[in-house]
Subunit: 209 residues, 2 copies
Amino acid sequence: MPRPKRSNPLALAVLSTLLTGPAHPYELATTMRERGKHESIRLNYGSLYSVVEQLERAGLIRPVETVREGKRPERTVYELTVAGRAEHDHWLAELLSTPVKEYPAFEAALSLMPGLPPEEVVRLLRVRGLQLEIAIRQLKSARDVAAEHEIPRLFLIEDEYRVALLESEARFVASLVDEIESGRLGEVELWRAFIDAFRGGAEPEKNSS
Amino acid sequence: MPRPKRSNPLALAVLSTLLTGPAHPYELATTMRERGKHESIRLNYGSLYSVVEQLERAGLIRPVETVREGKRPERTVYELTVAGRAEHDHWLAELLSTPVKEYPAFEAALSLMPGLPPEEVVRLLRVRGLQLEIAIRQLKSARDVAAEHEIPRLFLIEDEYRVALLESEARFVASLVDEIESGRLGEVELWRAFIDAFRGGAEPEKNSS
DNA sequence: CCCCGTATAGTCGTTGGCGAATAGTCGTCA
DNA sequence: TGACGACTATTCGCCAACGACTATACGGGG
């Protein structure tokens, strides 16, 4: 029983969901959706079933019964083992306490940004700014709806985090646009030289096989 | 030649790097590392070679020559096609202009947070806060070093973005700790009830197979 | 009464990501 | 000089992720 690799957070979500009682995989999926977990954790059937298998191999969960109703495919109901509960606690503790390096798409985009001419970049960043505003508004209004339904804030902190990140990104984008346009970023000449060097003076296609 | 799926940003990085001239895969890797791209884009050999293959199949890059020096493995040098340059531009434009849904680990952690008791969560979040401070300081001092070497800011904006996100997360964590402790988050009774229900009153292991 | 859409439950095949392995070359230091 | 480690360059095999697919049950309208 090797300690699982703690890669896919879906596995942790499964452990977490099983805290509230035994369930079969499909049921886990619907429960997670009801609780909105799928907004924060990638969830789809293929992954779910393979993750459940892994957890069983690792001895963190265990089948309690396999029911067959009529000719429906047979459902296997799983429950948490004590090892599973322990792993849940440790894993979640680690996830909360320790930041990990991640690779957001926009960071990649920024690192390749000099590959497009500055005024084009400004145009694109403005578009992003607008879309960020929209996303923020949507999240906030969703939060208001939830408040009316008296969902405790405790179960919506992920959303507050998302909003914080989005707002911070929006500010960053706005100030970046500003700096490029005002020339305060500096090396716009260098940037343009860079572009011209590799955009203008390139040999055309030799043969179009 | 189907338009590639624009999934792995490493492919875009390859296109971007080839803008500055033909190169073979290993060379691409070292160049990207020199330029610090590997901090923003996941890079390892396995993925690199398969990505290059995909790009060739899609007609976005094309081999110019395959050199063999002595008995060393033969190197295949690739160059960008015009289609490749176009794809670079469109893909990068999309990445800059359009936010995509992502699944940061900490968001997952927050969504599962109620699975641990409040005072434990507070302790863990404090630890995270410290580590975030450290990470921020490191990034900032790295920036100072780069400044002394006269690296233009243009090539370091990814880092500024990272710092912005980390700082925003640090503020979020601090205020969350505050809210839980001061009871301003509200439902701490509910939280504790939730925990006690599923932590205390659980049946022990039946058989230890 | 039958047909069709939707919900239930899970399986399967493909693909991509990744790290380890391979294998030759060059410099160096004892 | 020959052993060793660092660098160059690529290949391989495994496994996880995913999404499309299968198949049954159920409910309601025509």
